[in-house]
């Protein structure tokens, strides 16, 4: 009986894939460490799924996300239409990982070394996803910090060379030091949307743009 049910559900899944307009687009959430990528991913999932499960834990400690995590079939409704995407929350990209930085957050040495190893694997994984497995990118920046870093310049260049659609989000506008204009000046070739993923500020515009860019 179980076998028959499984078979029926497999056929039904295959048929729906065959006849659906399009496969959900895999949208990678990229950016430097501590930009608020996981906070944003969790906000999107909570806003658009029934169970509101989170994608991963949020933390002020860098490299909290050390594995790329995918949340499938998120249906975002905009202007009577539904856009279905898979959200891929990725580890923050960097060119260096020093385990001693974790020690500053009251983490023991063994744990710090383990975290740094996982972080390096996570960054490599994120780069691999970017080259092979995403259909579009949401690039998240902390608007209270300088966006003119080499990692940002390189990653935007890599995304552009892959000809992937990219939406730049200026996160953390709830912070006093936030400057959205600084991000607009750094990447004038792309549209920049301000938001606070933590507070949920300006999410309507973010969803409008997700539908426009990736729908």
């Amino acid at each position: 009986m179980g076998l028959l049910t499984n078979l029926r559900s497999s056929i039904s899944r295959a048929a729906s894939t065959l006849f659906s307009d399009e496969e959900p687009k895999r949208i990678g959430i990229y950016g430097p460490p501590n930009a608020g990528k996981t906070t944003l991913s969790n906000r999107i999932v909570r806003d658009w799924t029934e169970h509101g499960d989170v994608v991963g834990p949020e933390s002020h400690i860098p490299h909290e996300t050390r594995r790329a995590r995918r949340k499938e079939n998120i249906e975002i409704e905009r202007d009577g239409k539904t856009v279905t995407i898979d959200v891929v929350d990725t580890p923050g990209v960097t060119t260096k990982v020093d385990y001693t930085e974790f020690l500053e957050h009251d983490i023991e040495k063994d744990e710090a070394v383990r975290r740094s190893r996982e972080a390096t694997e996570g960054v490599a994984e994120a780069m691999h996803w970017l080259r092979e497995d995403v259909d579009g990118v949401i690039y998240v920046l902390d608007s209270s910090t300088d966006p003119f870093t080499q990692v940002n310049t390189m990653l935007i260049g890599i995304i552009e060379s892959q000809e992937l659609p990219v939406l730049i989000l200026a996160n953390k506008i709830d912070l006093e030091e936030s400057s959205v204009q600084r991000i607009r000046n750094a990447f004038p070739q792309h549209e920049t949307i301000p938001l606070s993923a933590l507070e949920g500020d300006n999410m309507d515009e973010v969803y409008d743009k997700i539908a426009e860019y990736f729908g």
Binding site: V93, T94, T95, K96, V97, D98, Y99, V113, S116, R117, T120, E121, V123, A124, M127, H128, L130, R131, F148, Q150, T153, M154, G157, I158, E160, S161, Q162, A186, P188, Q189, H190
Partner: protein, 126 residues
């Protein structure tokens, strides 16, 4: 590359575009990381393509080891212009505009200032 006797100082490898042109992507990455892991500052006359930069990050991550190698610091001039120049370059068959690139060990090189025309870095000996 020629063997250099270790002295009290910082070795700088200035690598011409011509030298890198003849190498495959992974060979270029090896030349850079071998130099950086010996503690040298590597300066590329013509930089890397975005795809090579992506692979450089990936390979660097795989080689990071606690108390031994923390990764790299890399600097290029920020790309000026916007999508128009990108499109123009693509139409002209230039996917990677040539850009001077400085790469060094993360624990020995610190960027002091960077803009479209100037990169200032502080290199420490140890």
């Amino acid at each position: 590359m020629a063997e250099v006797k270790q002295r009290d100082g910082v070795q700088i490898d200035l690598i011409s575009g011509e030298r890198m042109d003849g190498l495959a992507s992974m060979e270029k990455i090896r030349v850079i990381l071998d130099g950086v892991r010996e503690g040298n500052i590597v300066i590329l006359e013509e930089g890397l393509s975005p795809d090579e930069e992506s692979k450089l990050i990936e390979v660097t991550m795989s080689e990071i080891s606690p108390d031994e190698f923390n990764g790299i610091e890399i600097e290029t001039y920020p790309q000026s212009g916007g999508s128009d120049s990108g499109l123009f370059n693509r139409l002209m068959g230039k996917n990677s505009p040539k850009k001077l690139t400085v790469i060094g060990p993360a624990n020995r090189i610190e960027t002091l200032h960077k803009d479209e025309t100037l990169i200032q870095t502080l290199v420490s000996r140890t």
